[in-house]
Symmetry: D2
């Protein structure tokens, strides 16, 4: 099921970065839901490259085209198919890479697994695929109208928003920030570091925090579809993600049980929320909170030794148009996948 | 698919902690593989309670019973079913909990989701379920005989093995340690802290590191069955797990691309292994490395305020026989799930 | 998914005819449904051998044992596991068959596929497996209490109930008949033929008709889970089934459109029901009707030429205790699978 | 899984007859297979309407467009997506049907299930969907190059090829026949009847026989993925199909065991093939044979009483451009689905 996400709501995706188009099919989408296609397009616009000085200058219009499943603005209960045309795909940028494997990329593993690969721009392993995910998440968000998902950049290159400084930021506070970091002082430091790193042709990683409010109790299923396990799996599917934690996360390992247990107040609400909104794999109506770690992108223009197919080495810098830090552009991806996983779980209520 | 793990190799589990037995069915197991049932039993023995002074005194013999799929010591290609009888289940220990929800447990979320629950010992949400996982992983390990999985306790209650002190420890170095921590000095500190915590009736969390050698290249599938995403999902299914990272993990977020990229040497091998043995979701024949964070167990005898079904609060301590720290007993669980996920991926080669 | 039936409600079965036991796990069973275990046992009793002079004298008590998923007589929403102990398994009856392949049996194909087989009584390919299906269907029938499924023997060895003689027979009219044929005159002729055939050591096939009333509209899903396709697939899973048709079936191929189309009356009900209760794969609240063809059982005591593993031939008669005609015993199997498929579809309403 | 066919090889389809396009995604397609796209197009051409005087005059060019998964003429192991543009969709033909339900169509059941439907030309329930199936089957046929599938029209409106007159006809013998009936004398009679029926605005059903040679032993899986059950389910997914039988089929019910059992000759081959090439759900390397029954199409221009959404009745004839008999055009559909199911099973060898 390697190109399918979800159980009740299932997204099947397809497409290579330098083929004619990429797209997806959502099966299991309930009938009769009014779809705001402008809202879907806006969500997609947040992901596309070329939006600011810190991202790749590569431009794609990324207009979503709905192919089936919506009739007179409402979902029909049949598969909801969509696609994006690929444009401006400079395949010639990749000619030099036909016979070499870039460090930190899937080039060598695809070649080994399939004995063969589309070497242009990563082919199927390209982050171009995430356009499909954002579209799918935006569509899925219509299934769970009361749920609000908010992701933001908490850390880039070791520079972090001070603990406790941000709770549940407004949409605008995130989107008005060029780095999608809703803490202005921190963002300024990050921008300075990014500028420095860009000049050396290098790249930076970071951490995205995601919070969800309006979650009904009862989402998620024991034993192998625990809500946090499904969210974690989706996050670990994003290119460059190296870690996932929810609630108190790795910090929980350093607390005692009496410190970590969330107690109920007299109204049956939790006093604190170290559990991250999920108990035994099932949502408890508290806010869901989790964090996702991204490695620095592997495509850098610093010259590096690369392996050739024939076995020897060669020094090359990766050409093409790449972001020094993809973490800000990953914010809508994190949000979209979260909407999709929650909508999938919601259909099991 | 909430009680099913795996795609090509599928484990379906069932059972409640205080029902007559728990068990599982493995479908997709290849025919003709000789099964060493003693080795399976030994793996199961490593998980069972009552093995040392630091674990619960609750004793279970946990003898695996194979019900189908093996004939004359070889797998037949048909479903491999097994079960463990539950014994010594003191249901009366839980009578006080029938109408209250313990903090940090799935009691309240199960009640909300199903409108009804088996309150005895957590029912389906009990860690008793992990007996099935260890059996399944031990059986699955026969599919990938060249692969060696080694997990160990790296951190308990904030006490950590010094960085770089342990590489790939011997099986005996882990198993001869009462805490499954192969660094004697660190283990001693952990034991002292545990003793102190036990006397207060409290509990501790920790971190398990897992390393895998002998992995062939090509395991794992793009896009939504990336090898690390499948491992991560399995780990996040373990009770009390709050975080997962692989390779450089959350630390990768603080490196630059030129620091993080693993370069090839002249033999086409990686010089370092920050990628954790997986590139683009597919194994590259390097060692796989990952870390799993556990919260402190929620069942503590420190009295806590609990919510009752009728909505009010009551102060109770959780009776029953519980471990002050379950992390050492989780080591074979981590290993078994890893074997299972790798065997599942191996069948796709 | 070769040992799994169903999509939302999933039955995973296991077990060989001469292993210690056979059983199944039902996942996706809704919580809070009161289970009448006596009714489940009664359903299972209808399938078991040794009930009358025309079936095999082999006796099995076939007491269902529920292992999980029911607490205080109600389903808990967790997997519902059950098993039957195998008893009285005379493996020695099959020693002569270790190295020969019986005609019309799965012996040779299992050996080819798996390179290895449990030769005792058919192993996994034995009709012993159908005990699991009857249990699962009986349990699933609790999900759709308003639906009544009635199957009966319409034809044995070419002797057929006269057209139009039977509409929707009472449960007793079927069960009081030794051949589960609710038309006394026809049954008498069938019994005479069966007696004649038994004396020659031969066997007979037949046809079962199944009718369902109380079906709500809307069961079934386009495109590849059409209700009749799911029912058909389940029927074709029964050992010895060679054909399936619904509504007017093969006869529909000989009608004109103006003859076959079911017209609506002034109340919006269909005047006739040639469609068999399903239109476009979705139930329309009319009675569902279908027919299932069974070949004569392959195990006969007439001596036959058999192939040996080494390639040569040998003349043998199949020993063991077999029915001259299994069709009457297949009636509860057809009903149980129908309940299961309908309950699966019902959960998608 | 209602829009997905297959287990290891999975086809996900989408599209409505009067939307912009229809298409599909094949996941699990092995890497490195050279695809002959002309052969795929030719297969699709055989299904499209407007090919002869006996089919609908509606014309569609039906040029397949490959969107992903093929690079330099070879499959890459990633999802193989394709689509067909819809053209010449006269939606206005269907305006009269917006508020009425045609007899024998899915109109009323879709409306009931989804509370809403795309009424233009059947929407998702249209046979337009079968274009996707033919494309998928043609692509899948590249996975099993040694297998030859041949379907042909055996019966229309009760006129049947004489028993034993046709064994395994040549491709040309079928394709050169306007009715895809390789027996000239029978075809002539069928054509005369069709002409007569067309003049009355009525329609005819029929039976397709399908034979497969070159099948390796070992395809198919016990217990619920028996090869004939998977083929049967696929056939029952075709619009208008009412029955499926394999091997001796419904006739088997009238034979004795000693007559039906296929005996082995001294070379280990079967002397006859009443089993239809499948034993215990697994292929035995003999030719696979099965038959599929089609009802007469429901869209006829004979005026019929139809139900309106508001509940009353109205007399209408179904306008639009319809075939008096779709059975000849279903021949490539039967073949394509058979290739797909066999390729799916083949990947499990």
């Amino acid at each position: 099921m390697s190109n399918t996400l979800g159980n009740r709501l299932r997204l099947h995706t397809w497409g290579e970065s330098h083929g004619p188009r990429v797209g997806g099919v959502i099966d299991g989408f309930p009938a009769g839901i009014t779809i705001d296609i402008q809202r879907v397009q806006s969500f997609c616009d947040r992901r596309k490259p070329g939006q600011s000085s810190i991202t790749t200058p590569r431009k794609e219009s990324d207009i979503i085209c709905i192919d089936s499943g919506i009739f007179e603005s409402k979902s029909t209960g049949t598969p909801l198919a969509f696609h994006f045309d690929n444009e401006n795909t400079k395949s010639s940028d990749y000619d030099a890479l036909k016979d070499v494997f870039r460090p930190g990329h899937a080039d060598s593993t695809y070649q080994t697994k399939y004995g063969f690969r589309d070497h242009r721009g990563g082919g199927r392993s390209s982050a171009r695929e995430t356009a499909n995910w954002v579209a799918a998440g935006a569509l899925a968000s219509h299934i769970v109208p009361g749920i609000e998902v908010r992701a933001y950049v908490e850390e880039i290159g070791g520079i972090t928003i001070p603990s406790g400084a941000i709770n549940f930021p407004d949409y605008d506070a995130v989107e008005n920030s060029i780095l999608r970091c809703p803490h202005a002082e921190t963002e300024l430091k990050m921008l300075r570091l990014l500028e420095e790193v860009r000049q050396t042709g290098d790249s930076l990683g970071g951490v995205i925090t995601c919070k969800v409010k309006g979650v009904p109790a009862g989402l998620g299923d024991p034993v192998f579809s625990k809500l946090h396990a499904e969210i974690g799996k989706a996050m670990l599917s994003i290119n460059a993600v190296k870690g996932f934690e929810y609630g108190a996360g790795f910090q929980a390992a350093r607390l005692r049980g009496s410190e970590h247990n969330d107690l109920f107040d007299s109204d049956g609400r939790l006093i604190e929320n170290r559990g991250g909104g999920i108990l035994g794999g099932i949502s408890n109506a508290e806010d869901i909170t989790f964090r996702v770690a991204f490695k620095p992108v592997a495509s850098i223009s610093v010259p590096q030794n690369m392996q050739t197919k024939s076995g020897g080495g060669t020094e090359l810098s990766v050409k093409g148009r790449h972001d020094p830090c993809v973490v800000p552009r990953a914010v809508p991806i994190v949000e979209a996948l979260t909407y999709f996983v929650l909508a999938d779980a919601y259909l099991g209520l």
